[in-house]
C-alpha cells in the first residue's frame, strides 16, 4: 500500500470565555497622532472604597480619546485643580489652558462588592454641566466597559459622531512552540484589552466574521484537514460546521439582517460566491464564472454585495445587485484590488491594493476618488470600525504579523501586537445597543 502519512490527529479545543490563562493581550502603540488634537480636561475619578481603586477610569477614557487623534487629555500634572462638583470649578483657570470641556466623576464601591460610577461633563465656556450619568451595580470586570460608554457619550457630544469605543474586535493569533504553530481565535475590547480565546487549534483559522448582533462569529477552520465554515457563539455554547462542501468553504460574511450568509464555495467548479439562508441552509449561487470569485461583503442596505473576481486576469473588486443580478466592476486603479470592506454608511469601499507592495486603498463611491491610506508592509484584511471612522487591518512589521488601525483620512495610525506571536485576520464587531 502507498499509505505515506497517517492522517494527522487534529487537536481542536473550544475554550469558553472563562479561561483566563495565557492571555494574549494586545498592546497598542500609537505611531502618529494629530497635531490638531483639542485639549480636554479629564479629572481623575474620585474613589470611595476599600483598598486601591480598581480601574483608572479617566485614564481609559483619555487613551480612548487620544486614539481618535481628535482630542488630547491634559496630563494629570498639568491639571490646575481637581474639582469634584460644578461649584468647585474655577472656569477661568481652565479657559486659560485652552480647555473647552471637563470631565469629572466618582467611582464608589458599594456594600455588595459592586461599584457605582458617576460622571459629569462640563462645558467650560457656558459654565454648565451638559451631561450627567450614573451607573449602579457594576462588577469590577465591567468597569472598563463603563469607561468606554462614557467615552462614547463624550465623543458623541463633542463630534456628533457615534463612538465605537464600547465594541469588540476578533482576530487570530499564531504562536510557534517547538516548531508547531498554535492558532487562537480571540475576542477583545476595541482597545485591545480583555482578550479571550474562543477557539484554539493546531490548524489555521481564517476570516472571522461577526453576526450583526455581535453574539456569534463565523470563521474558516482547517481542523478536519481542509477548509470548512463554522458558526460559534461567543459564549461557546453553540458551535456548528455550516459549510463542508467539496472544495473551498471560505469567506463567510453575514448579511446586515443576520438572515443570510455570503460564502465562497468551489463545489460546482471554480470559486464562486453563494448565499446561504441561515434558517433553511438553502444555497443560492450568486456568481457564475470560471474565474476566482470570493471575499464577498454586503452593502449596508443588504441589496448588493462587493466581491473580488479575477475574471479580468487579476483580482479586482466588483459589485453584484441581488434584485437584478447585474454585476459591475468597481475598482479600476492598479492591477490588484482585493478583499473589499464597505463602510457602515455605504460611502467607502476599502480594499487591499497591490501596487509596489500591498496597502489599503480607499474608494469613495460618492466622489469616485481612490486613495492609498496605509504605508505599512503586506497590508490585508481591512475592517471598518462600526462608526466608519477607522479601519482595522493586518500587516507585517519586522517579520511579524501585527494589526494596525488607521483613520479613513489616514491621519492617525496605531499598531496592535501580541508579545510572543503574530496577529492576523482582524474583524471589528458591531455597535451593541444595550
Amino acid at each position: 500500500m502507498l499509505l505515506l502519512t497517517k492522517r494527522k490527529f487534529f487537536l481542536v479545543c473550544v475554550l469558553w470565555m472563562v479561561s483566563l490563562s495565557s492571555r494574549a493581550e494586545l498592546t497598542i502603540q500609537i505611531d502618529q497622532s494629530s497635531a490638531s488634537a483639542l485639549p480636554i480636561a479629564l479629572i481623575p475619578f474620585e474613589f470611595e472604597g476599600k483598598g486601591l481603586r480598581p480601574e483608572a477610569m479617566s485614564q481609559i477614557i483619555g487613551q480612548n480619546l487620544f486614539r481618535t487623534g481628535k482630542f488630547k487629555a491634559l496630563d494629570e500634572s498639568q491639571l490646575p485643580a481637581k474639582p469634584n462638583h460644578l461649584k468647585a470649578i474655577q472656569f477661568d483657570r481652565w479657559k486659560a489652558l485652552g480647555v473647552d470641556n471637563l470631565l469629572m466623576g466618582r467611582l464608589i464601591e458599594t456594600k455588595n462588592g459592586l461599584y457605582q460610577i458617576e460622571m459629569r461633563f462640563v462645558d467650560i465656556l457656558r459654565k454648565e454641566q451638559i451631561m450627567g450619568k450614573r451607573w449602579t451595580g457594576i462588577t469590577k470586570s465591567n468597569l472598563r466597559q463603563v469607561a468606554h460608554k462614557i467615552t462614547d457619550l463624550i465623543y458623541k457630544e463633542l463630534t456628533g459622531i457615534q463612538g465605537a469605543f464600547n465594541t469588540k474586535i476578533a482576530y487570530v493569533t499564531v504562536k510557534t512552540k517547538n516548531n508547531n504553530r498554535h492558532f487562537s481565535l480571540e475576542v477583545a475590547d476595541a482597545d485591545g484589552h480583555n482578550s479571550h480565546p474562543i477557539l484554539r487549534s493546531t490548524n489555521p483559522i481564517m476570516s472571522p466574521s461577526w453576526s450583526p448582533d455581535g453574539k456569534q462569529l463565523a470563521y474558516v477552520t482547517f481542523e478536519n484537514g481542509r477548509s470548512e465554515i463554522v458558526v460559534q457563539s461567543l459564549d461557546g455554547l453553540k458551535r456548528e460546521i455550516i459549510a463542508s462542501y467539496k472544495g473551498i468553504n471560505g469567506a463567510p460574511a453575514w448579511s446586515p439582517d443576520g438572515k443570510k450568509m455570503a460564502l465562497t464555495l468551489s463545489k460546482d467548479g471554480s470559486a464562486d460566491v453563494y448565499l446561504m439562508d441561515m434558517k433553511t441552509r438553502h444555497l443560492r449561487r450568486l456568481t457564475r464564472n470560471w474565474a476566482i470569485e470570493t471575499e464577498a461583503v454586503w452593502a449596508p442596505n443588504g441589496h448588493s454585495l462587493f466581491f473580488n473576481s479575477d475574471r479580468r486576469g487579476q483580482p479586482q473588486v466588483f459589485q453584484v445587485f441581488l434584485d437584478t443580478g447585474e454585476i459591475r466592476r468597481v475598482s479600476f486603479i492598479g492591477g490588484y484590488n482585493a478583499n473589499p470592506a464597505v463602510s457602515p454608511d455605504g460611502r467607502y469601499v476599502a480594499m487591499v491594493h497591490g501596487h509596489k507592495g500591498f496597502h489599503i486603498g480607499l474608494l469613495d463611491l460618492y466622489n469616485e476618488t481612490f486613495n492609498v491610506i496605509t504605508k505599512t508592509y503586506l497590508d490585508e484584511s481591512p475592517s471598518f470600525s462600526p462608526n466608519g471612522e477607522m479601519i482595522l487591518y493586518a500587516m507585517n512589521q519586522a517579520g511579524l504579523g501585527k494589526l494596525a488601525v488607521v483613520s479613513i483620512d489616514s491621519s492617525v495610525t496605531q499598531v496592535l501586537s501580541v508579545q510572543d506571536g503574530e496577529v492576523r485576520a482582524p474583524s471589528w464587531g458591531p455597535l451593541l445597543n444595550e
Binding site: 500500500m1 502507498l2 499509505l3 505515506l4 502519512t5 510557534t176 489555521p204 481564517m206 476570516s207 474558516v220 482547517f222 484537514g225 481542509r226 477548509s227 472544495g247 473551498i248 471560505g250 469567506a251 465562497t264 468551489s266 471554480s270 470559486a271 476566482i292 470570493t294 471575499e295 473580488n308 479575477d310 487579476q314 483580482p315 490588484y336 482585493a338 478583499n339 487591499v352 497591490g354 500591498f358 503586506l378 490585508e380 484584511s381 507585517n396 517579520g399 492576523r424 485576520a425
Partner: protein, 204 residues
C-alpha cells in the same frame, strides 16, 4: 514507459488494452521484451519508497534539494505537447523526485520540470491502481488570504489535470487547498515565498 505514450495516443492505447488485462500488464506488454515484469515492479517499488520517504521526512527532502539531487530532473529535455519525452525504468530509478510542484508568483502553470515530477508519480499510481493521492495547494503570503485559498485550489487543480493527462483517473485525486496558511518556509523573503508557492503530492 511506453504505456504513457499509449495512454495519450488513442490508437496505441487501444492496441495496448486489447492485448492486456490490467494496466500493469499493459505497460509490460508495450515494453521491450527484455524488460521483465520483475524490473517493472522494482522501479515502482523504488519510486514508491522515494515518495514515502519524502513525505515521511520533509526536512530530508529539503536537504536533498539543497544538494542538487533534483538537478537531474531540472536538466530533463524539453517537452512539447506532441513530443512527450520518455523516462526509462532505469532513469526513473536514478531520480529522486520531491513530491512537490512549484509555481511562479500568482501563477498556476505546471512547467516542464514539474511535469516530469507528475509523470513520475502518475506512473506509480498507474502501477498501483488501489492508491489515491491528495494534491494540496499552497500560496505565498502576499495578497489576500481568501483569494490565496482559491489560488491554492487553482494550482492543485492544474496539477490534477496533469495527473489526468498521464492517465490517472480524477476519482483517485483529492484536491485540497490550504491557501497561504501553511507555509513551508516562515520567512518573509522572495526565497521563502518561492518555496511556499507549491502543490504537495501526498498519499490519501
Amino acid at each position: 514507459m511506453h504505456w504513457l505514450k499509449g495512454s495519450l495516443l488513442g490508437a496505441l492505447a487501444l492496441s495496448v488494452v486489447a492485448c492486456s488485462s490490467t494496466p500493469k500488464n499493459a505497460s509490460e506488454a508495450d515494453m521491450d521484451m527484455a524488460n521483465s515484469e520483475q524490473q517493472t515492479e522494482d522501479y515502482a517499488e523504488k519510486a514508491r519508497l522515494a515518495l514515502e520517504k519524502a513525505n515521511a521526512d520533509k526536512a530530508e527532502v529539503e536537504v536533498l534539494q539543497a544538494e542538487g539531487v533534483n538537478g537531474q530532473a531540472l536538466s530533463s529535455e524539453d517537452m512539447g505537447a506532441e513530443d512527450l519525452p520518455e523516462v526509462t525504468g532505469a532513469d526513473a530509478m536514478a531520480h529522486t523526485f520531491e513530491p512537490v510542484i512549484y509555481f511562479g508568483y500568482d501563477q498556476f502553470i505546471v512547467d516542464d520540470t514539474s511535469l516530469e515530477t507528475v509523470k513520475h508519480y502518475a506512473a506509480i499510481l498507474v502501477d498501483n491502481p488501489d492508491e489515491k493521492i491528495q494534491l494540496i495547494g499552497h500560496t505565498d503570503e502576499r495578497g489576500t488570504p481568501e483569494y490565496n485559498l482559491a489560488l491554492g485550489e487553482r494550482r492543485a487543480k492544474a496539477v490534477a489535470e496533469a495527473f489526468m493527462l498521464y492517465g490517472v483517473n480524477t476519482s483517485r485525486i483529492a484536491v485540497i487547498t490550504m491557501g497561504e496558511e501553511v507555509p513551508a518556509d516562515l520567512a518573509h523573503t522572495e526565497a521563502a515565498w518561492a518555496k511556499n508557492r507549491r502543490v504537495e503530492i501526498k498519499a490519501q
